[in-house]
């Protein structure tokens, strides 16, 4: 891409012929009046989305047959750039003939694909993809008006990247499954953040509820925690970190060894644990009757070591100090 990116001003050259045609002559621009809807035996739905201050606003008119929920006619008006006009025009076209529920399934991705001249070449450049998102949002708005429900109840899931329609769960899953460590990797795997880049981090094109940098950080923290818990709970002594090993050793000592020593009036404490050359060296100090006992360097020591081998791992060596 580098060679093609070095000359600027190619935004419009990346529009498909279909996009250009629809900017110049939108087929479904205009309004539907109450009278026109009535003549069709339909209910008029008028939905507004966006704002001038944000650079994009669209109004969608639907004439919906109340018996079948079918959209009999659709028109739009737009305050928006060329790609917003073309996307709104295609969105209106795609919604016609569908039921309201079917129309709700139209996404900006489908709108963009329908505007392509051929299957492989995108209809609009990446930084314009967010202009097509309005087309999706206004459908949701119209459907919520028709159904008399809150718009948020129609949301299937939390969308992080509107341009590529990638949800929060997908992004978290991809980070976990592929052990992703950078935002760039998330974009490579999911396309999230590849278009208007608003969802990458705060301070971009528009404000977002979720940002990839935050999702990545939080997911990595959660993954790290889970790993620690898993290690702590695991039976595999070798996989534990030093603190977890210490706990496991104390547990084995407390359950299996100290009671036996106590029967003879003795005890022990752990002074240090050092890992070296594939061995776990446990330095202990005898207490009570064990201190100075002849067996403490022979039989008792053997007993302690054997018990720890049995309970924890073969590579444990117990060293009295």
């Amino acid at each position: 891409m580098a060679k093609n990116d070095l000359i600027g001003g190619s935004l419009w050259e990346q529009y498909s012929a279909k996009v250009s045609e629809r900017i110049n002559n939108p087929m479904h621009r205009g309004e539907i009046s109450e009278a026109e809807a009535k003549a069709l035996g339909a209910r008029l739905v008028v939905a507004d989305w966006g704002a001038e201050a944000c650079g994009d606003a669209v109004r969608l008119y639907w004439a919906v047959d109340p018996k079948t929920d079918r959209i009999l006619a659709a028109k739009f008006k737009s305050f928006g750039c060329g790609s917003a006009i073309a996307s709104s025009d295609m969105m209106a076209e795609l919604s016609m003939g569908k039921t309201v529920d079917q129309a709700l399934k139209i996404t900006n991705i489908e709108v963009e694909r329908s505007l392509r001249d051929n299957a492989e070449t995108p209809a609009i450049p990446p930084q314009k993809m967010h202009c097509s998102v309005m087309a999706y949002d206004v459908i949701k708005k119209a459907a919520s008006i028709y159904k008399g429900v809150d718009m948020s109840s129609l949301a299937e899931e939390d969308i992080v990247c509107e341009c590529a329609r990638v949800g929060l769960r997908t992004i978290k899953d991809v980070i976990r499954i592929n052990d992703l460590k950078t935002v760039e990797e998330i974009t490579q795997y999911t396309k999230a953040g590849a278009f208007c880049k608003s969802c990458l981090r705060p301070g971009g094109h528009e404000k977002r509820k979720y940002y990839l940098v935050d999702i990545l950080r939080d997911t990595r923290i959660a993954m790290e925690q889970e790993k620690l818990f898993a290690q702590a709970d695991a039976d595999d002594f070798a996989a534990k970190n030093l603190i977890q090993k210490h706990r496991a050793i104390e547990k084995a000592l407390g359950e299996k060894i100290r009671p036996a020593l106590a029967a003879d009036g003795g005890s022990l404490e752990v002074v240090d644990i050092r890992e070296a050359e594939g061995k776990v060296n446990i330095y202990i100090r005898y207490l009570g009757a064990c201190k100075g006992c002849v067996s403490s360097t022979k039989g008792t020591l053997q007993f302690i070591e054997n018990m720890l081998h049995q309970e924890l791992a073969e590579n444990i060596r117990v060293i009295p100090v």
Binding site: K77, F79, H205
Partner: protein, 391 residues
């Protein structure tokens, strides 16, 4: 279709006489001016003439420097980075003062210097859309401020900043003053003999010269660390073989631009005003900035209910080339600081279209463009979801 070019603040047509003057220096007198042989030295008379024209054009004295470089963007980088090295990194000062409405080449360069530890203060414009002396006085500090960088005229609005007063304030406070005069030269009088600037930058292609060549004025006696290190060209202040044909073109372009200032101020202004009047006759339109405060060639108009990029698409389809500051495809939707300072509604932030004329604009073109603009506004408002047509 007869195409009409009204984007002269972006770039201009090369004057055919400029092209003609450059011609012999491609295939005939093509020597390197630093060579000792005749191929090199035979370029010198024309180069000297070009330098004379540049010095005369901005009123520079023989002891001043005009470094020939690639463009004003390079010159602006040279000044900002050079002063940073000389007075901040290797000197006692800490701050650079500029404005919120500078060209990206100044703003992005400042952001880079901030990343290196420099403190940069961005002055707002006032309700007229310009930076005034009172604001500058609040921002500069004789001990801390190394450099003040303020454009002579704004590229978007055409508003002319009071550089004489601003430069004087800096001089009084012992602070260096730089002005990006890229939108001023050829439109209004620029005279460094009268205005005490320390550094001034310009690009030839904004005044009917070729693209890829510009100049940096440095007041006599001032030190400025080079941006490009290398050979001894430009007295060691800017390495790289001088683009001889383009320098010769820029010299002639400067002479003609300055010679045409009276025409610019009368005829171009009259055409601009004529276009502006027809735009303002369209309902719900406005033009940013008072006429008398603007360069004679620029109109930043706002058409309520029409998104900027959709408008320039439509104008382009009908043969009129203009530009928009609408941020639809940009990385940020931050509101334009000029609009905010001037109290212009957020609803108009994405509706602005810039028309910029030149001495090559004709009355027929302006009348034809006015008609295209009128029809385009009508058509786009008919499909606008926010424009109330019943008003």
């Amino acid at each position: 279709m007869n195409k009409i070019y009204l984007d002269n603040n972006a770039t201009t047509i090369v004057d055919p006489r400029v092209k003609e003057a450059m011609e012999p220096f491609f295939c005939q007198q093509y020597g390197n001016p630093n060579s000792l042989h005749s191929f090199g030295t035979e370029t010198h008379p024309a180069m000297r003439l070009a330098m004379d024209r540049l010095y005369a054009g901005i009123g520079a004295g023989d002891e001043d420097d005009i470094i020939i470089n690639s463009c004003a963007c390079e010159g602006n980088n040279h000044v900002l980075k050079g002063v940073y090295f000389d007075l901040i990194r290797n000197g006692p000062k800490s701050e650079i003062v500029t404005t919120q409405v500078e060209h990206p080449c100044v703003l992005n360069c400042c952001a880079f210097l901030e990343s290196l530890g420099a403190k940069v203060k961005y002055m707002p414009v006032n309700a007229d859309g310009i930076v005034d002396g009172d604001t500058l006085r609040q921002y500069i500090h004789p001990d801390r401020t190394a450099l003040v960088s303020i454009m002579w005229a704004n590229n978007e609005t055409g508003l002319v900043f009071p550089v004489q007063e601003l430069a004087k304030i800096c001089r009084e406070n012992g602070v260096l003053f730089h002005t990006d005069a890229v939108q001023a030269i050829g439109k209004i009088a620029v005279d460094v003999g009268r205005v005490p600037v320390d550094f001034l930058t310009f690009s030839a292609h904004k005044f009917h010269g070729p693209k890829g060549i510009g100049g940096l004025f440095i007041r006599k006696g001032l030190k400025l660390t080079p941006l490009l290190h290398g050979g001894e060209q430009m007295g060691g202040k800017r390495a790289g073989t001088v683009n001889v044909p383009y320098l010769i073109g820029m010299g002639l372009a400067m002479e003609m631009a300055v010679g045409n200032l009276a025409y610019e101020d009368s005829s171009v202004r009259r055409l601009r005003d004529r276009l502006e009047d027809t735009i303002l006759a369209i309902p719900d339109t406005m033009v940013v900035g008072k006429r008398e405060l603007r360069t004679p060639n620029t109109i930043l108009a706002s058409f309520r209910g029409i998104e900027g990029e959709a408008m320039i698409w439509d104008l382009n389809a009908n043969g009129v080339a203009a530009s928009t500051g609408s941020a639809c495809a940009s990385e940020s939707l931050e509101p334009n600081p000029t609009f905010v300072a001037m109290g212009i509604s957020d609803d108009l932030a994405h509706t602005s279209i810039r028309f910029s004329l030149s001495r090559f604009s004709t009355a027929e073109e302006i009348d034809q463009a006015a008609e295209v603009i009128r029809q385009s506004a009508q058509r786009l408002r008919a499909i606008s979801s926010t424009y109330k047509n019943d008003k």
